[in-house]
């Protein structure tokens, strides 16, 4: 088990399934936070979550301004062209002030802490992607079965 007798967590496996800024960051913060506490961490990117590790897309991830009640703006305003880019740049300013790095730098840092970074094979096949489409920190493209094998003894967190 991932817990010893004190209930202490030893290992986490975090699944990232969403491709929006607010979908990706919580997972990255939790993975990095785990490593800071000496907890082993694995990140598994699937579906639109892959945007966080696709070399050409990872610098362009945006906040969802439509269909996102948390933004507290009406959907038709969120749909105005440029709204998502505006909200994203505002949020990035706030994040930098809190020492939250841009996605590319964050992924590099998390990988350097010793965390493993995997891409989901089913999605990679579905989107016709190749290993070279990803940033260099991606360790491997793995199947769901391999994900479970690698997650032995871990708490699995789905985001």
């Amino acid at each position: 088990m991932s817990e010893n007798n004190n209930g202490e967590i030893k290992k986490v496996s975090i699944i990232v399934s969403k491709g929006s800024l607010e979908g990706i960051y919580p997972a990255l913060i939790m993975a990095n936070g785990a490593r800071m506490e000496g907890i082993e961490a694995t990140l598994f990117f699937t579906f639109f979550g892959l945007d966080a590790i696709i070399d050409k897309r990872m610098d362009k991830v945006k906040v969802a301004t439509v269909g996102n009640p948390g933004m507290h703006i009406p959907t038709f305003i969120g749909a105005i062209p440029g709204m998502s880019a505006f909200a994203t740049s505002q949020m990035k300013k706030e994040m930098e002030a809190l020492d939250i790095p841009p996605i590319r730098e964050f992924i590099e840092m998390i990988h350097d802490t010793g965390a493993d970074i995997f891409a989901c094979k089913a999605t990679v096949d579905m989107f016709h992607l190749k290993k070279e489409d990803f940033c260099e920190q991606v360790d491997e493209i793995i199947s769901v079965g391999q994900f479970y094998e690698k997650s032995a003894g871990a708490e699995i967190i789905f985001t």
């Binding site: 490593r35 800071m36 506490e37 000496g38 020492d99 939250i100 840092m109 350097d112 802490t113 010793g114």
Partner: protein, 105 residues
Amino acid sequence: MATKQFNGRAVEVDADGHLADRVDWDEALAGVIAEEAGVGELNDRHWLVINFMRKVFDETGDAPSIRRLTKESGVPTKELYALFPKGPAKKAAMIAGLPKPTGCI
């Protein structure tokens, strides 16, 4: 407040086991805490991180977490984890005689 013995010297510590009062800290004590924390003997690179932590704490009142260490201490992430295995920010703060960093990143 709990008291902990370091090399026969009683020192007050907080709930996380970090020094309760910085005035108790000196370089010799840092060496003892490092041994106990599994970091081993402190070298120049360890000291670079420890001194940076103490400097930031003097300025901000909080020990830096891993992003700030990576960006500004002059020691990259990989090396930080090699120098202070299992949680560099936390361990370096402990050795530096500072409370646990409160930052999440």
